[in-house]
């Protein structure tokens, strides 16, 4: 938790919210899973069936919004929240990219020490 919190603080200091910190919490992961089904939902809908208060859910949604995974859209009088897959896709692509670089570097190391 404290690690989680400190990385959120560190990320905010840089003007960004950390994706992993945002997702690394059960309630928020649950909210993302719900929203990732595609349908934008209101806070009331998201609070339904949860033991948490509307205020608590709202706080979690705010963290997700700051990380860019969730965005709010206004429809009429209501504020709805929807899932934004882009940051997660971008992070996955980035990790794949770094992973690929390591595969290549380690294969160079292998030929280097085995020759």
């Amino acid at each position: 938790m404290s690690r989680n919190r400190s990385s959120i603080v560190a990320a905010k200091r840089r003007g960004h919210a950390s994706l992993f910190a945002a997702l690394g919490e059960e309630t928020r992961l649950g909210l993302v899973t719900k929203l990732a089904q595609g349908q934008p939902r209101s806070i009331s809908q998201l609070t339904e069936g949860s033991r948490l208060t509307r205020q608590a859910i709202s706080k979690h949604l705010h963290v997700l919004e700051t990380a860019g995974i969730v965005r709010s859209v206004r429809t009429g009088r209501e504020n709805l929240f929807e899932f934004n897959p882009r940051p997660i896709d971008a992070m996955r692509q980035y990790l794949d990219f770094v992973s690929e670089q390591w595969d290549q570097a380690l294969s160079r190391l292998k030929s280097f020490v085995e020759r």
């Binding site: 960004h16 950390s18 380690l106 085995e114």
Partner: protein
């Protein structure tokens, strides 16, 4: 999607040989493709310039964390938003850093190398990957050239 990368590779060379390739700055530079200014020293910044084709403008800058002979070599390094020559600054002071660890273990016929890179949770959610996407083709292309070269010279 985890927040770390882990690779395990079996090398047919003694631990002492692999250790030298990792921690002698000239040997490291050869396979990693970087020209380093000087030896790795625990707790100190290691600087240099990449020699990787197309990335010669990129600076190498790592903080050496641990050098435990024939066991563990680790450093932290920055993840800048872009290596693209047009908007590359070379100033990594505000970039998030990850921890890279190489650990070695003797096996029956050589060395098991475990590489981990962790701390991706420090990276912002709004990574701008345009430059990476553009470059990715370049890297892939370069790697094919090297693989062909290595295959031919063996």
């Amino acid at each position: 999607m985890g927040d770390r990368i882990e690779k395990r590779i079996e090398l047919k060379a003694p631990v002492s040989r692999v250790w030298r390739a990792l921690t002698d700055y000239r040997e490291f530079g050869e396979w990693f493709r970087v020209k380093l200014d000087g030896p790795f020293v625990e707790g100190q910044v290691s600087r240099g310039t990449m020699t990787y084709p197309g990335y010669e403008h990129v600076k190498w800058e790592a903080i050496i964390q641990k050098i435990e002979p024939e066991r563990l070599f680790s450093f932290t390094w920055p993840h800048p938003k872009s290596f693209d020559a047009s908007n590359y600054t070379g100033d990594y002071s505000n970039d998030p850093r990850t921890l890279v660890e190489f650990s070695l273990e003797k096996t029956g016929n050589g060395t098991l190398l475990v590489l981990t890179e962790s701390g991706f949770d420090q990276l912002p959610g709004d990574l701008r990957l345009e430059a990476f996407r553009r470059n990715e083709g370049g890297w892939t292309e370069q790697m094919k050239n090297i693989e062909n070269y290595v295959a031919k010279s063996q």
